[in-house]
């Protein structure tokens, strides 16, 4: 059955796209269905470049990494199949264990402070009427700056000999502090890491909160629920699904931390994270085989933690 009435109204170039056959579709529904089907062709056309792009730049390298993880590589020109040796090394590698712990430590800081501060800021901004846009831009701004630039900034803050922080201390006649000492370095790096992306999650939270219908709050007001109670009992439960998304983003983002650590401490003094460790193995040592193995470990770890977090936060979906 050809939907001739409609086709006749369209210009000829469009005819081919919308003239599908739908044997069992009912007359009154066809209008919607046919057009969805017709659009679908365009959707495919527009989806294809992205899919091709991802295949070339993401999936192909990923499977190539899997392939390389079974080789011992010497630079770029020489490789030898070694079976599971790289994976054996993975499980006995103390440095990798340390890097994992450091990454998890940053993950804790990120979940507690980055997500936490973003949530608190969002609740506060949601409760004011003026300057909402202003605060939104101000808090979002650090996200726009490149991580490396921020890292260089913090190198100059933390430097022992002429860093900003120690200059301030010296002005007050206090003893200089070694900010990037072995006990402190990871926490010092966590500060810019957390700060950099607070704005991003803040914007997500503010957007989520603006979706909550006003009558919920009106009802709460009538019940006399305000302030912290309103936030804990009403706002947060209502945006829980967004919080879940943010936590997943924060987890996957933290596993990729690289620039802050590399620039601020060169991954020394107990700050080596998975990103820097993989880079060192693959790029500095030119051991692409083991570097690829570490990369795969990172992917697996990321998926496991994200699934775990999702499981823990499982709740019923709320529809307004």
């Amino acid at each position: 059955m050809r939907d001739s009435e409609l086709v006749n109204k369209t210009p000829s170039s469009f005819e081919a796209a919308s003239s599908f056959k739908y044997p069992n579709a009912r007359e009154n529904k066809t209008q919607v269905v046919i057009n969805m089907k017709g659009d679908r062709k365009y959707i495919w056309i527009f989806l294809f470049p992205m899919a091709a792009f991802l295949t070339v730049f993401l999936y192909y390298p990923f499977f190539k990494s899997v392939y390389f993880s079974f080789y011992r590589t010497k630079g770029f020109f020489d490789k030898k199949f070694i079976g599971w040796d790289n994976y054996d090394r993975l499980f006995s590698d103390k440095l990798l264990g340390a890097a994992t712990l450091h990454t998890l430590e940053i993950l804790v800081y990120v979940l507690v402070f980055q997500v936490g501060i973003a949530l608190v800021l969002a609740v506060m901004v949601d409760n004011i009427n003026k300057f909402k846009g202003f605060f939104r831009s101000v808090f979002f701004f650090p996200v726009v700056i490149s991580g490396t630039a921020i890292s260089l900034l913090f190198v100059l803050f933390y430097n022992y000999n002429f860093g900003l922080l120690n200059s301030i201390l010296a002005n007050f006649g206090l003893e200089k502090v070694l900010w990037l000492s072995e006990n402190n370095a990871l926490k010092a790096i966590a500060v810019p890491t957390v700060w950099h992306y607070v704005g991003f999650y803040f914007v997500l939270f503010v957007t989520a909160m603006s979706k909550i219908p006003e009558d919920y709050y009106d009802a709460a007001k009538l019940e006399g629920i305000t302030g912290v109670k309103k936030m804990v009992k009403l706002t947060i439960p209502l945006i829980l699904s967004d919080i879940k998304v943010v936590i997943t983003l924060a987890i996957t983002g933290t596993l990729k931390v690289f620039d802050f650590v590399w620039v601020i401490s060169r991954a020394q003094n107990g700050t080596d994270v998975l990103g820097t460790y993989m880079y060192k193995k693959a790029m500095v040592d030119q051991n692409f085989g083991y570097g690829s193995t570490v990369a795969i470990y990172m992917v697996v770890l990321g998926v496991v933690i994200a699934l775990l977090a999702n499981r823990l936060l499982k709740s019923e979906e709320i529809t307004y």
């Binding site: 409609l6 109204k9 369209t10 210009p11 170039s13 469009f14 796209a17 919308s18 209008q31 919607v32 057009n35 969805m36 017709g38 659009d39 365009y42 011992r72 010497k74 630079g75 770029f76 020109f77 020489d78 030898k80 070694i82 190198v155 430097n159 022992y160 000999n161 002429f162 070694l178 990037l180 072995e182 370095a185 601020i264 401490s265 060169r266 991954a267 020394q268 003094n269 060192k280 193995k281 790029m283 500095v284 040592d285 030119q286 051991n287």
Partner: protein
């Protein structure tokens, strides 16, 4: 619904029309502006009937490199003499390891530059073995004048393991202990010409709050090279780790710890990079630094650069070094890639450019700019300042000039040696364990 897709389509059409319109316009503009150009260029082309060739030269003469302008000028000189040749000066800073990845990826993926300026030794072994570059022996022998321009020692230094010369050297380098004489004089200290004087200087300076030796733990390339050379001597140093561990290497690491315990390193040595260490020296905050000849051009403070001299690193007691051994050589050179050599259109131009870039005149200019030792015979360079002159004298009087360790061992082995520095000086690892760990990695790499 129908209408929305119609609207979408018509919008697309409008866009394409816009694009088409824009395209037409720019085309018109281009042709309009190009016509007079071609007119002026035609007579030139008739003068030089040579085919147009474009060459890509990859080097590290970019970013903050002190010879960047001299290098660009040398390329410009060539293109002005050969107007049919276009040169793309492709550079990447040598401050981090990124350019090694770039070079290797290019060489491995069929994207070779026509001329490549890169390290010799282990770093080049991969693409040399893969036949990506041409041995220069025959080209050198065919052009006696060009060959005679090089100092024989410089050419010898770039010889690869297989006995061929693949890289034409430009300038060499030396590394040494750069000392701020003024700080030593102000504190009534003798220059660290032997180990005892070194220890006295370190403990005195550190008590006074002056950094004795600006050195980072992570980018500790020069520290490792000099401590091991001073402990194990030229032979032990050059043996690498392939055939077993020279016990004197451990003495080198033990000496690092000895100086660290006296307070030799900056407080933040663990987290600074080489740039920051050099900065400490440049600002007069540190009395000594182990660096390469190229570094002094970045020290602008007259108080520092005018008071700097270069010494060989003192011999470590119990070791076999002479105290006059130096790290240096001609660790880099121009490679001619096989792809270019086999390309009849490019071959002659590329060879001509190679000869131009390694002619005594260009070598001299680059050497003046970067403070390196010229690879040309009969080119005597007086240092641009007293420090550079001292440096040349130090290198000239050295009992042996050795290529750095990282050209003798696998990259991963060297990283392990680097990682060992902090662990040893802070007492977390014994020197023997640190060297053993590196040896294990070296063995695994040979598999």
């Amino acid at each position: 619904m129908k209408r929305s897709s119609l609207a979408l389509l018509s919008m697309l059409m409008v866009f394409t029309m816009f694009l088409a319109a824009c395209g037409n316009k720019t085309e018109e503009k281009n042709t309009a502006s190009e016509t007079p150009k071609t007119e002026t260029e035609t007579p030139k082309e008739t003068e030089a009937p040579k085919k147009d060739v474009s060459l890509r030269v990859f080097s590290t003469f970019g970013g903050t490199d002190t010879a960047r302008e001299a290098f660009q000028a040398a390329l410009d000189e060539f293109t002005s003499k050969n107007p049919n040749v276009k040169i793309e000066n492709d550079t990447m800073s040598a401050n981090d390891d990124g350019f090694r990845t770039k070079v290797n990826t290019d060489m491995n993926s069929g994207n070779e530059p026509d001329l490549l300026f890169y390290f010799v030794g282990t770093d080049a072994q991969g693409f040399v073995d893969a036949g990506k570059v041409v041995p220069l022996n025959d080209i050198l022998d065919a052009d006696a004048e060009w060959k005679a321009g090089f100092s024989p020692a410089a050419l010898e230094n770039t010889r690869q393991k297989d006995g061929n010369i693949y890289a034409a050297p430009l300038t060499g380098f030396y590394e040494g202990l750069f000392v701020n004489k003024k700080i030593f004089a102000d504190n009534n200290l003798e220059l660290p010409t032997d180990w005892e004087k070194m220890k006295t200087a370190v403990s005195t300076l550190s008590k006074k709050g002056i950094i004795p030796l600006a050195a980072p733990f992570d980018q500790s390339h020069y520290v490792i090279e000099h401590f091991i050379l001073s402990a194990a001597g030229a032979k032990g140093h050059n043996a690498g780790l392939a055939d077993g561990i020279d016990p004197n290497w451990e003495k080198g690491y033990a000496a690092m710890k000895e100086l660290y315990d006296l307070g030799a390193f900056p407080k933040d040595a663990a987290t600074i990079d080489l740039g920051m260490a050099s900065n400490y020296y440049a600002e007069g905050k540190a009395a000594m630094i182990i660096e390469g000849s190229w570094a002094m051009n970045n020290w602008k403070e007259p108080n520092v650069i005018d008071n700097t001299t270069v010494l060989p690193f003192p011999a470590i007691p119990g070791g076999v070094g002479t105290g006059k051994d130096a790290i240096g050589g001609f660790g880099t050179g121009f490679y001619l890639t096989k792809a270019t050599y086999d390309n009849a259109d490019k071959k002659d131009a590329a060879v001509a450019l190679l000869k131009h870039m390694t002619s005594p005149a260009v070598i001299e200019k680059i050497a003046i700019a970067n403070g390196g030792t010229p690879a040309a015979a009969n080119v005597e360079i007086k240092g641009v300042n007293q420090t550079a002159t001292d440096g040349f004298a130090m290198a000239a009087s050295a009992t042996s000039v050795n290529n750095p360790i990282d050209s003798m061992v696998a990259p991963e082995t060297f990283s392990t040696l680097r990682a060992g520095v902090q662990a040893v000086v802070t007492g977390k690892k014994s020197p023997a364990d640190a060297v053993k760990e590196a040896k294990d990695i070296e063995d695994a790499n040979k598999k």
